[in-house]
């Protein structure tokens, strides 16, 4: 076979599933409740075509239910398309179900024979590969023990070793590369690279986009049973990630619950402290503490569409709006906010005093906003703290972990902040 030969040719395949409202597969039900056999036809694939050349690694991506796993099942011939055609050249092996047919009472060695036979290997072929399979699984000492004595990691290692040593021309992989420890995963990937270099064609279905970027030459993005785009993996993955982020930001439900009740209890305690008028009694370890001369009624996180949400995109506008109530007027109020990691590490914090502002409102209720034009935080989950203190820094209402929020990002940098940069050579 030449390098450029097309080994997988998928021609305009469609697939419908019947979703039964109330399926009776028994005679009685079929006869008596004939009307109950109503079903809904759902078109999972609406005409998909793509080609794969020998030695290529292609990733199939898309969100849940988009049809990528169905496509893979059609490729393995577990199912057949309703229309269209799939032409595959060469022996096919699949890493869809690991450890198929493993019998717990049989030894690892015997299970290698059973499992490999399910992939269509003859005894002779298995004999020839046996040592390699055992060596790859790193289970030499345990290979004659019954499989039921294995840990789940050992079990998966054995199963993966068999599947990867089948020597197929085409390997189909579905979401199962999370095998064993990191070392073993690296080993698996190296092995896959070796196989690919030898000319094996590989198709991977996964949600792990970094795997796709690292490993696949090309990717196909499927949405609602149709191909959205295909091409170089990094480009397709970027387009997909962008689409998914947009979708998440848009679909995020309306405002989220305020902080849980324990905080309120603390607030009451603090109120007692307040009555005692003893600054030293402030419980600084609480989530919310302070003398309550000024109280934070609520804080909002406003996005560019003027909605209070908890999910943002890097580079989007974000305003933190603090609603406050004054119980006992002070000369000066200092408002602050901070972004923290979930582990409690401060990423950024600032207040009106540091920014050399003087706030002395006479109104009992008011709002103060801090506007961030371009949110620099990278993808991840963060915590918002809000606080109001007096000019000496004595806490009036210090609200730790006010809420969590999430940032999604097209920026693939690591760390917490996006920094404008470019590379020069």
């Amino acid at each position: 076979m030449t390098k450029n030969e097309i080994v997988i040719d998928v021609k305009n395949i469609t697939k419908k599933f019947r979703i039964y409202m109330d399926k009776g597969s028994q005679l009685k039900e079929r006869l008596i409740f004939r009307k109950r056999n109503r079903y809904e036809e759902r078109e999972v694939l609406k005409g998909i075509s793509f080609q794969v050349k020998k030695g290529e690694a292609v990733g199939l991506i898309g969100h849940n239910g988009c049809g990528k796993s169905t496509t893979l099942k059609l490729l393995t011939k577990i199912m057949y398309p309703d229309s269209g055609e799939i032409i595959m050249k060469g022996r096919i092996s699949s890493l869809i179900e690991l450890g198929a047919g493993f019998h717990p009472d049989m030894s690892g060695r015997e299970n290698i024979y059973t499992n490999a036979s399910i992939f269509g290997l003859t005894k002779k072929e298995i004999d020839a590969r046996l040592n390699e399979i055992i060596a790859f699984s790193e289970l030499e000492e345990f290979i004659d023990n019954p499989v039921r004595t294995y840990s789940s990691g050992m079990y998966m290692r054995l199963a993966f070793s068999v599947a990867i040593n089948v020597d197929a021309d085409i390997l189909l992989i579905d979401e199962i590369l999370a095998v064993g420890d990191t070392n073993f995963q690296t080993k698996c990937f190296n092995r896959l690279r070796e196989l690919k270099a030898k000319g094996m064609t590989i198709i991977i279905v996964t949600h792990d986009l970094s795997t796709i970027e690292k490993f696949c030459d090309r990717s196909v993005w499927i949405n609602n049973g149709l191909i959205v785009c295909e091409g170089r993996s990094d480009e397709v993955v970027d387009a997909y990630r962008n689409f998914m982020n947009q979708k998440r930001v848009e679909s995020e439900p309306e405002p989220i619950k305020e902080n849980p009740e324990p905080v309120e209890e603390k607030a009451d305690n603090n109120n007692n402290n307040n009555n005692n008028n003893d600054n030293n009694n402030i419980d600084y370890s609480a989530n919310r503490f302070g003398l309550k001369y000024v109280e934070i009624k609520k804080a909002e996180m406003i996005n560019s569409e003027n909605k209070d949400v908890r999910i943002f995109r890097t580079g989007d506008a974000l305003s933190v709006k603090i609603h406050y109530h004054i119980n006992k007027p002070l000369e000066e109020y200092v408002f602050g906010f901070g972004f923290y990691t979930l582990e409690g590490e401060c990423l950024y914090g600032n207040n009106t005093q540091l920014d050399r502002m003087k706030i002395n409102s006479k109104k009992t209720d008011g709002v103060i906003s801090v506007v961030i034009e371009k949110l620099p935080l990278l993808a991840g989950k963060y915590v918002l703290n809000v606080a109001v203190v007096d000019s000496d820094g004595t806490p009036m209402d210090f609200y730790r972990n006010y809420c969590e929020f999430e940032v999604v990002s097209d920026d693939r940098s690591t760390g917490y902040f996006s920094i404008e940069h470019e590379w020069r050579i």
């Binding site: 599933f17 019947r18 597969s25 028994q26 005679l27 009685k28 099942k73 393995t76 011939k77 577990i78 199912m79 057949y80 096919i92 699949s94 869809i96 179900e97 198929a100 047919g101 019998h103 009472d105 049989m106 024979y113 059973t114 490999a116 036979s117 399910i118 992939f119 269509g120 290997l121 003859t122 005894k123 298995i126």
Partner: protein, 258 residues
């Protein structure tokens, strides 16, 4: 033809599944694999007690007369009832991995067949100890009869297993069908007592001929009639071919139906 070659390529899978089935069958029992031999022996004891002490028959060595017919029948009925459930039972495999689906009923029937072969060891021991004697020339025909029965059993198992996927009642219906089928086959009685009117029906039943052949060889110690063997052979081929094609057609939607 391509399918047949593929099934042949997966012969190791058949072998593995048969081995797993035979080993797993008596798993956890104290006597383990010995049950393969004890089971038919105990059945023999029961039938002997019933038919020589209670329901007296005038067939000489009735226990042997029955035994040589019962063991092949058990193989056939197990293939039919167990075979019908075989694909549903392996649905995890069918839904997740590609392999020629025929492998499953083939393995099931083969494992029942191996079980029958092992039971035949007991049959021969009984024949020797009963002093009935053996006609070696006739025994040479035995493998042919067994192969014909295997074809018949496999053909029916292919049909039953594929249809059961779509229609689960079949498994239970077949329980009754095999019972009726057993009484419609001269196993416990002689074909000579069958009323004239019903004879055509009995002759259509392929198992009538096959049981007759077993009995010719092992009980009457004669070489079976070629015509009986030939007609069951033709029926075996017909069952196998129609089973094969029906299975091919039905297996396309297995993964969705399971």
């Amino acid at each position: 033809m391509k399918t047949l070659k593929e099934i042949y390529d997966y012969r190791q899978m058949v072998f593995s599944l048969v081995k797993k089935d035979l080993r797993g069958r008596y798993k956890g029992s104290v006597l383990g694999f010995m049950w393969t031999f004890i089971n038919p022996l105990l059945q023999l004891v029961v039938y002997t007690v019933v038919f020589s002490l209670i329901l007296k028959t005038n067939i000489e060595r009735y226990y042997l007369y029955l035994f040589v017919a019962l063991i092949p029948w058990i193989f056939f009925s197990a293939s039919l009832t167990g075979g019908s459930a075989s694909i549903v039972a392996q649905k995890d495999l069918v839904k997740k991995i590609y392999f020629p689906r025929q492998v499953i009923p083939i393995s099931y029937v083969t494992s029942s067949f191996v079980n029958m072969l092992l039971s035949f060891i007991v049959v021969f021991i009984v024949i020797i100890f009963s002093g009935a004697g053996i006609n070696f020339l006739a025994v040479l025909c035995l493998p042919v009869i067994m192969i014909v029965e295997y074809m018949l059993a496999l053909g029916t198992a292919l049909i039953a297993s594929a249809v059961t996927v779509y229609f689960r009642d079949l498994e239970h219906i077949l329980g009754i069908v095999t019972m009726a089928w057993m009484y419609m086959t001269p196993i416990m009685y002689d074909k000579s007592i069958v009323p004239e009117k019903l004879l055509p029906l009995f002759n259509l039943n392929p198992m009538t001929h096959i049981i007759g052949c077993y009995r010719d060889v092992l009980y009457y110690k004669t070489v079976p009639q070629l015509s009986a063997l030939l007609s069951s052979f033709i029926l075996g081929i017909v069952f196998l071919i129609s089973g094969h094609f029906l299975f091919l057609k039905l297996q396309r939607h297995f993964a969705e139906e399971l």
